[in-house]
Amino acid sequence: MSIEAPVETRQAGIAPPVTIDLPSAAHGSVSRARSSRTLHRVLRTAGPIALLGLWQLICSVGLVDAGLLPSPWRVADTIRELTTDGTLLPAIGVSLRRAGVGLLFGAAIGITLGLVAGLSRIGEEALDSSLQMLRTIPFIALVPLFVVWFGIGEEAKYALITAACIFPAYLNTYAGVRGVDPKLIEAARVFKVSGLALAREVILPLAMPGILVGIRFSMGVSVLALVAAEQINTQSGIGVLVLDLNGTLRTDIIISGVVVYAFLGIVVDLVVRNLERLLLRWKASIV
């Protein structure tokens, strides 16, 4: 191969804007992406529908006593009943508020601690070991303690959900910050981006996938902690339904409560997915 230098072939003096034609990256065909997304959706919904079908089948054939396991149809009926007689919606409202407030505080505390520990050496040394230790405690073990500390009112419920939500948010935020490619940070430093600007403009956006994973886990945990919290002297909320406080052994009502819990979980997941789509457009652009 001839390595004749091309430098001389160009004219000296003021060069025109240098534009070199390089093949640009193929931006994948849109319609193909869309059809694969549809397939994706079909597959995702097929599983739950098949499970429901199986459940209905077991009940229709009479494999189990309808008193022990009511059919999905029956449960749907009960949910409709509970909605029309005005018990379900207020209960959902109360439960959602508990989970939401607890999540808000827990995630805020967790993310803040995660950022502090991730961004500064001192913060890491001060926080990480204690938090790593505390996180191994199953939060359900705290229920009796929280009852003693906060009583049997709403405070104990908020406190429990908050405490449970801190750790997933903390762990994933911390990991997200630490997972930022040091080479990128180095490049930013070359261009005089440091300190707070570095944290805000480079590290925080790049840690965002981790932070969102943390929020997602915290949201899941908030529903979990809600269930545990609603076992404490509950007079309102979905817990009332599930705990069968009247002792009527209405399994259809209990299952209705469980379905609502599951539904809350799905809603929570949906919220985070959309949050991710909004905040991580730079990441989504590759698929």
Partner: protein, 266 residues
């Protein structure tokens, strides 16, 4: 420094009368017991394009990082311009910022227009709104070049910026770098292990070996243009020799009465 090849002529480095843009004297760096740089002297004139050759692990990148302010030297003095830019082997674009926002990274109050100008120079103005992940390797590296040049650096540091590119893209990228360096005229230090690349692009080629830096060889551009391949071939032979790669003598020396290698005077 003795190279085994007679010095026929001494040529001053271009613009050596000016105050040098970069001056390193007595530079020394060790990692543990391993001494990487020892008593290194380097002077780069404003606008001069230096290529630094050396085998892997010879300390080229260590020297570049010291000039970039990313690493320190254990001893010696370093004088560099305030405005320095680096193009790394990888583009190192921030994936969460659109292309144009990557270009003006760290430049407060610098708007889109300035970024677009810089992107036009590298032929990527229409990618200003794109996310870095959608770019090809060559495109991303051109954005990195725009990001480096948009702040009009007094010193441009190129750390094997073509190494990860395919052969065709590499040739085009080299042309682009040569053209843009002539236009913006920063002092340039190109770290590479590609001898041909060094000969093509540089005003002066230095070789880092046994922890030290020689004074370098000034590339006679006119002669390279006139005699073409044979001059470049002789130079390549000379540098490969210095780097410990012993190939056959490329040309009959009697056909070339004057030696291709002219050592720089520092």
């Amino acid at each position: 420094m003795t190279t085994g090849i007679a010095t026929s002529e001494t040529v001053d480095a271009p613009e050596s009368r000016d105050r040098p843009a970069v001056r390193v004297s007595g530079g020394r760096r060790a990692f543990g017991d391993q001494i990487v740089l020892d008593d290194v002297d380097l002077s780069i004139a404003p606008g001069e394009f230096i290529a630094l050759l050396g085998a892997s692990g010879s300390g080229k990148t260590t020297l570049l990082r010291a000039l970039a302010g990313l690493d320190r030297l254990d001893a010696g003095t370093v004088t560099v311009p305030r405005e320095r830019s680096v193009v790394f082997q990888e583009p190192r674009l921030i994936p969460s910022r659109r292309v144009w926002r990557n270009v003006v990274l760290g430049l407060r109050g610098t708007g889109r227009e300035r970024a677009l100008e810089a992107l036009t120079e590298v032929g990527l103005a229409d990618h200003a709104q794109a996310w870095p992940r959608t770019l090809s390797g060559g495109e991303a590296q051109r954005v990195a070049l725009a990001r480096a040049l948009v702040r009009e650096p007094g010193l441009l540091l190129l750390d094997e910026p073509f190494a990860a590119l395919d052969a065709l893209t590499r040739l085009r990228m080299q042309e682009l770098v040569a053209a843009l360096c002539r236009r913006h005229n920063p002092a340039v230090l190109l770290v590479t292990h590609d001898v041909d690349e060094a000969i093509r692009l540089a005003d002066r080629v230095l070789v880092l070996r046994s922890k030290r830096l020689d004074s370098g060889v000034v590339i006679d551009k006119e002669r390279r243009a006139q005699t073409g391949d044979s001059y470049a071939t002789d130079l390549r032979y000379h540098f490969l020799n210095l780097l410990g790669v012993r190939g056959p003598q490329p040309t009959d020396r009697s056909a070339h009465p004057s030696d291709p290698v002219q050592e720089a005077h520092t």
